[in-house]
Symmetry: C2
Subunit: 429 residues, 2 copies
Amino acid sequence: MSKTEWRVGVAGLGTVGGGLLNFLAEAPDFAPAGGRAVVTGVSARSRSRPRPFDISNLPWFDDPVALATSPDNDIFVELIGGSDGPAKAAVEAALNAGKPVVTANKALIAEHGAELAALAEAKGVPLLFEAAVMGGTPAVKMLREAMVGDDVKSVAGILNGTCNYILSEMDSGGRSFADVLSEAQRLGYAEADPTMDVGGFDAAHKISILAALAFGCAPNYAAAEIEGIDQVALLDIQLAKDLGYKIKLIASADRSEEGVLVRVHPTLVAQNHPLAQAGGALNALFIEGIRIGRIFIQGPGAGSGPTAAAVAADIADVMTRAARPVFQRPAAVLTPFVPIDPARSTTRAYLRFLVKDEPGVIAAVSETLAGAGVSIESFLQKPVENADGVPIVLTTHAVAEAVLTAAIDQIASLPAVLDRPRLLRIART
Amino acid sequence: MSKTEWRVGVAGLGTVGGGLLNFLAEAPDFAPAGGRAVVTGVSARSRSRPRPFDISNLPWFDDPVALATSPDNDIFVELIGGSDGPAKAAVEAALNAGKPVVTANKALIAEHGAELAALAEAKGVPLLFEAAVMGGTPAVKMLREAMVGDDVKSVAGILNGTCNYILSEMDSGGRSFADVLSEAQRLGYAEADPTMDVGGFDAAHKISILAALAFGCAPNYAAAEIEGIDQVALLDIQLAKDLGYKIKLIASADRSEEGVLVRVHPTLVAQNHPLAQAGGALNALFIEGIRIGRIFIQGPGAGSGPTAAAVAADIADVMTRAARPVFQRPAAVLTPFVPIDPARSTTRAYLRFLVKDEPGVIAAVSETLAGAGVSIESFLQKPVENADGVPIVLTTHAVAEAVLTAAIDQIASLPAVLDRPRLLRIART
């Protein structure tokens, strides 16, 4: 069965939808496999909203489900967003109608990926989501296809461009989180409600998807441990710099015999590490396999052009009629990974806290940490203008998180310690 | 047509072949699409040669062509190497027999890729070669599949691990090319005849393949401009370091409206550039597209594990029965790219030469360059022990190569200049 024209229905007409419409209008014959992609229907919340691209000649659907099931299209592209609601309903409807689906929706795949994969495989159609992670940088294809001759041990990287932009600006401009965030909102780099980004949830959706592809299991977003950047103080960025680190929001997934640990948190990364050097709104990822070793990939994680290009590449993949499971294994044998209790993992740590400016304090802190089993790697006391006390920073050697937490409790209870120590983890090199 | 067992014939039993045999013995069910890969025949130059893996239970073929056409296998894997001879004969025979072919042979694909693609597409079978470029790092899949929603403008990177190792060791150890090469040969990092690597020919094969995938044309190895690292002096590495650069063997392909320029040459790369930081035997590549922007990918470019993993990923791709052209376009419409005369390209340059230690020399050189239309960016005269004259180094702003060459001729003819200036190009940032 050869088909020269693939009729594409596009639901969601934001910047990515607009980029895709422009691209397919300019280059309908872009796909190497030789098919022609023509947009034959669009849907969005408002038909009349002003847009920088023309939709007047395209068949309009008020209801994305009606577009998804319309006999006038062969591929359904979902760019609505959101883990539930119309996006999920439309994707399910398209799959049920036996149509290939391409989506950029990380929340949907992270939270409902396994059940949607089962539906797609039952219907024998592809469900592709390259644009859901790292925009135009093909992390999904790499893990789903290029790494199958290896066993991936870990993936770790910078998956949220908004957070990376904010942290980079705080670092280079010496400005507070709140300052940079409000500027980013003014410039359109951050949403009016920035919670999904700065709270770490967007990065957690993405790393949950990558973990599933890397380890051959179902996404398990509920098991992700998530800490955003909204509590990152400028002081920590500056002190980390003095110690030779940058603070980045790192999303990571590590597999061991016991299970999988998926987490997102602000992390100290050594300044000469490639992840520390990915500035601005870049995304970057390390993939480590037992045979291949470490692969690093970096590129733009968002934006109309890159993300639309990723959607287009998925449309081209649909045209190859490749038959493969949605994740690494058929949905029928896909199980959620077993989460590891983070308290059982080990980490190097950065601790910052205020102490009274009096003799014996450092000795008391050092003894407390030693007694708790935490080994100090470096100690930094900086003369900072602070009437409330003297800030102390220390870094530790690798230690079990449960031990670390207990030690922090003990330090916080010392009379000379004025606040609860701020904990940031330090990335492995 | 569903097939649960894919019988694999493997020709060439070096380190990659051994890695593949071990992997398929351990994990025959690795492929997500669900097929089982079983080695059902092997071929190599000598059956009795001692090997660190067991082939005694595998059907042996003296002639790789006989293995390629044997009715007892479904996929032919070519790991023999070489652009012609038995490798080409066996690949042609397998394709003619209607069998999918997976190869790691960059010389074969760079020099005969278009005709082999035509044969594969006429027979309706895939011809895959992920392992031919960057070993386990999936540059081929990225350009062939993930970038099809974009127009790639340029690819540039480090594609030969042996050269990168030698240059890195010269830099870190302050040792000469000859010293490091002989050590690398002793350690098995370089071949007894190192010409393919250090002469830049291996990198040229690889960039010719990437250029074809990036720009939708046939490989045109004959048009590549090639300079190796065998003339890189330790002095240049040290002077480049003083100027803030590392010297790397950069393979690049640039597309413009006039055509394509493919070249390999030792290049100064700014020390904070990701390509400068890819040390040891790493490979690294920038891909720049008009929509996606710049993507960077880095990983191991050789070795048994990574390369065998790339071959295995291609075998898994065969099992998906994806139907796509071998390069970016069907072989029927694939034409070799039009090479651009390098003299018409522009570059920033590093020039190093010896001058007599007498007044007025720098003025004479500066005036000569200014008269020729070359603008100097920086000038460095280092006190180096050298009875024969004083080494002078300068870097230029971007200038047409033809202008640069004419200027070098003029400088060489100045009475105070004692040798022909050594030209190295400086990478764009």
